[in-house]
Amino acid sequence: MKNRALTLYAFAYLAFLYVPVLVLPVFSFNNSEFIAFPLSGFTTRWYANLAGDSAMLHALGNSLKVGLVTSLLATMLGLSAAKAVTHYRLKGAGAALGFISLPLFVPDIVLGISLLLLLGAGGLPLSLAAVVLGHLLVCVPFALTVLVARFEGFDRNLEEASADLGENDWMTFRRVTFPLMLPGIVASLLLTFITSFDEFLIAYFLSGTEATLPVYIWGQLRFPARLPMVLALGALILTVSVALVMVAEYVRNLGVKKPMVGA
């Protein structure tokens, strides 16, 4: 009895999580500029319009650039920090990890404006490079979490066994460490990319004239006529994000006994 009610609750909860988000794709095919019931017929014109929107495409390009650079840098930094902390008994490792994870506890707005102050003090312009730095702050902790978990689930003896069997540090890394870490690395790249791609507030403060896609969308929100197009764009972004996350979670758990989920 309790199970039945609880199970119903679980599915209802799942619906509560997903249905509001589904509004975007549903109304993106609606043949009307008003986002209201009743639906006025099916159309794909909002999607077609996207292809011709050069400002949007430019912002998309910026987001891709920032996302790729951020994910690569965040994963590299996360990788070296994760290896340092799991392979060596370093004093203050806990404090270092805490420090690196600190941005997760600071509101994005504070991260954004404090970096703004830094740029101002250094005489540096607002730019996509600044956005990358801001995004690194929030992405490195994620990369670190994924990679530390992967390292910890990694039998340390495996590298010793490789050395025992005649391989030096570099060959051990190539033949044992890297192949076994690869799923974690791929998952980290995907998750940090999505985080950077979807990030709005820090980019809003730091991007200056080169808008990222979320900043572009924000700018469009005040024009009611542009809303359906925003829905179409949003629906596309959501679909891609979900696909990437599913791939990332699948990859993250390759060859691992206890599944790891979430951040």
Binding site: K83, L90, V106, L117, L191, V245
Partner: protein
């Protein structure tokens, strides 16, 4: 065990260094700068040379600011309670009754990885005057006029934030429930407890660390949220972050903005610590 215990510690620190440097540059230095800025005044387009506590005086002195702080804390508090309360049953479900736990967990966390901005925007069009809910209810002839209380007020902010942060609450609670040794529950049953009693006497107390963790995880960031109040809060629902943003864009009073930021962080931090400390004390007293 198999950890390099002495040799090559230098290598270890070397590997850790770049990450620490980047984080120091991106977080420590800017925050320090913010502290410095908060102790100055805006003079035209630049800052004055002298140090002053005037900003802090303004922040703590103005009644409108104080009430804004209060509102932000209350909204976050409501969001926290709502989210945690709704998340506990599902975390319990996945921990104890679900057969494909991994699938459930992924399904529950996927929405978290999608664009936050888009999710808030979705709520805006759902709750709007001519939005999804209103037009649906009108179409079904359940109401004659659109409901006005749905959007541009604290209610909308709370609903939107609760939806956005749901996943954050589920995971910590799930983890602490999962860790509970099932044989403890069997022992309780063996010693005469009914299912409900067993839950109240064993499961709930043991899952408290997860609940407390979830509460902090939600409370701290939501007090500083910008996007949701800006899009769905209207004049009645704006929070601290919106005020801070105006200091940096429209108004141009950076020192005041910096002071507002630091004060709000300190306040939220203090509340969080107080909460954790009293929760711990309450758990100990209950033993």
């Amino acid at each position: 065990m198999a950890v390099d215990r002495g040799r090559n510690l230098g290598k270890g620190y070397g590997l850790l260094a770049p990450t620490l440097v980047v984080m120091a540059m991106g977080l420590a230095a800017p925050l320090l700068l913010m502290l410095v800025t908060s102790l100055k005044s805006q003079n035209g387009i630049s800052l004055t040379q002298d140090w002053t506590l005037a900003q802090y005086g303004a922040v703590l002195g103005r009644a409108s600011y104080r009430s804004l702080f209060l509102r932000s804390v209350l909204i976050s508090g409501a969001v926290t309670i709502l989210t945690v309360a709704l998340a506990y049953p599902i975390a319990y479900f996945v921990a104890f009754h679900a057969r494909h736990k991994f699938v459930w967990l992924v399904a529950l966390t996927i929405p978290f990885w999608t664009s936050y901005l888009l999710r808030v925007f979705a709520w805006k069009i759902i709750l709007g005057f001519n939005g999804v809910i209103n037009s649906a209810l009108e179409r079904l002839h359940l109401i004659n006029q659109p409901l006005e209380f749905l959007l541009y007020n604290p209610f909308a902010v709370v609903v939107t934030l609760a939806h956005a942060w749901a996943a954050f609450a589920i995971l910590p609670i799930y983890v602490s429930l999962e860790k509970i040794d099932r044989s403890l529950l069997e022992a309780a049953g063996d010693l005469g407890d009914s299912r409900l009693r067993r839950f109240l006497r064993v499961t709930l107390p043991l899952s408290m660390p997860g609940v407390i963790g979830a509460a902090i995880l939600i409370f701290v960031p939501t007090t500083g949220d910008y996007v949701t109040p800006q899009l769905v809060g209207g004049a009645k629902g704006i929070m601290i972050a919106n005020l801070i943003e105006t200091q940096f864009n429209a108004v141009g009073n950076w020192p005041l903005g910096a002071a507002l930021s630091l004060v709000s962080m300190a306040m939220v931090g203090a509340i969080a610590l107080l909460f954790v400390a009293s929760a711990r004390a309450a758990t100990k007293a209950a033993r």
